[in-house]
Symmetry: C2
Amino acid sequence: MSKPISLAIIGATGGVGSAFLAALPSIVLPPSTPRPQLIFLSRSKKQLYNKDYSPVSPEDLASSSSPLLSLPDLAKYLSTSPNPTVLVDNTSDQSVAEAYPLFLKSNISIITPNKKAFSSPLPLWNAIFSAVTRTALVYHESSVGAGLPIISTLNDLVRTGDQVTRIEGVFSGTMSFLFNTFAPASESASSPGKWSEIVGKAKAAGYTEPDPRDDLNGMDVARKCVILARCAGLKVESTSSFPIQSLIPSALESASSADEFMQKLPNHDDEMESYKTEAKKQGKVVRYVGKVDVENNKVSVGLEMVDQGSPIAGLKGSDNLICFYTKRYGSNPLVVQGAGAGNEVTAMGVLADLVKVIERLG
Amino acid sequence: MSKPISLAIIGATGGVGSAFLAALPSIVLPPSTPRPQLIFLSRSKKQLYNKDYSPVSPEDLASSSSPLLSLPDLAKYLSTSPNPTVLVDNTSDQSVAEAYPLFLKSNISIITPNKKAFSSPLPLWNAIFSAVTRTALVYHESSVGAGLPIISTLNDLVRTGDQVTRIEGVFSGTMSFLFNTFAPASESASSPGKWSEIVGKAKAAGYTEPDPRDDLNGMDVARKCVILARCAGLKVESTSSFPIQSLIPSALESASSADEFMQKLPNHDDEMESYKTEAKKQGKVVRYVGKVDVENNKVSVGLEMVDQGSPIAGLKGSDNLICFYTKRYGSNPLVVQGAGAGNEVTAMGVLADLVKVIERLG
């Protein structure tokens, strides 16, 4: 019987955090492996922990009166835990991401869906991965495509000596939904509607951020491309290092609110319609695509005309699709497809990482 | 610095074995992890090892005069190796598979693409997995879909507490090629040709086994379904426990040779043509599909009519495609697609397993 892993959870009560805690009791561990123990939980302005590292219960977090620890104090507290310790960061907080090197140097492993750490300027990436040791690990499957096996597959390709030449696909569930609806690969009897109507419907259904410009600016896709490019070995400085095509009409960038933006968006439907028409002339459809050209050290994010018969054109709903082109796989890529957003599938990626970390440290 | 892993390779000079040894020096290991050391190599009727467990070189295998060890003697020899030891079985040999429980009980981990161990009658599966410990591990990614992340994805789904309801797809590169050619989803100007002609072309190109009946009997797909079903939790007794549709016309089962079979196959083209015509009437195409209905405890292997717009219908070349339907993923499956056969991609799956085992044991 080995030692139990101690878990510290930041963002314990958010969407992903709640799904993580709900599913934690169901994880299946190897024989003779003790269950992980929660020793620290936090949400905004509340923390729960015991000085002697004894386990805590999520239901006590709301009423906790534990004094708040700063991130450096938390690293110090966890560094003297008697058991191997893992910090699960279920936030999308930049300041937590920036503290990862400190945690790693304190021999604390990191598991997170937080894209910030891996897509911020290159020095943070370098600081994180140069602090990794055999007992201070970093796993971040859900930073791209939620629970889909994207990062693990890319790491397997790289670590077994394959040469990844190109990665491309649809990395945003919101963009996927918008374009699958706006320009379906197979024509149906009824018209899909104008671009602004589709954005409006997506917003109403909760498929976009509260301000749809936070999706349409392409930054989410750009961040995921930075992560994939770096995992494939490219030294991408930041999201400012390559072209990102924003779908926010320049006249609407300064709209003072999401409502004003949505109200004026119909004035710009012609532009998106012309992309669609142009694609159709070529027997293609328009999609919002992220591309990492590893061989030529180029990253790009924006609209592409793709063949109607291609896997990207055939996507349904808000599914993601990632194609890995490699030397070993030749002309046909290795493809992973499925839901790339949602609390449960994001938490699944975090839990899968946790099982692997327990297998390595427990 | 930890101890190096000792590697024993059975089937060192076959197609997968050669690709494995060629790529072994390129694997990327975590910081401060020593490279694995080859301490035992075998091919048919030759073995190479030193009594003191010192490393051996593949180029010395052909001229080796090491006395041949039986499988029990090999287990005994490896059990006293001073370092954590991994047996890589790159054969498809039933007798090696049957010895896995013995190796595991001797604290030797197993990595293999060999389907036999996991698709033979259930007692062998139970004997293998009940012998797994924290230091005697079993990894078999390449037993289904070669290097595609199939087994690891299924294990992640199960181990994070998702409920896999259904697994279906095209699990044979040969069957994929035959049907993608015979009944393409999008009609081209030229006729694809008769079934027997396509089987003949595939045989000539080396896409089938030397005797195409070894593909057309469906057993390869059935074995993969048994493995997936068991990983998903079903207690499937053997490949005899469910219907397997053979594509060998019953009149040709007793043909005395592959040549005689190929010569007489054109007499049976009408039957395959009628499947194709029937599918077309329904706006579908015919494909050879494996299905594991986890919810209803049912496995089946055979011809299916699939929608022309479905991912299975759209497969190219000899690609595999596996759809995982789960509670978390809802109506749209998690899909993995790509080359599911070939020495290099099979060896890649074995090497990816090796990296994981070294991370756990090294």
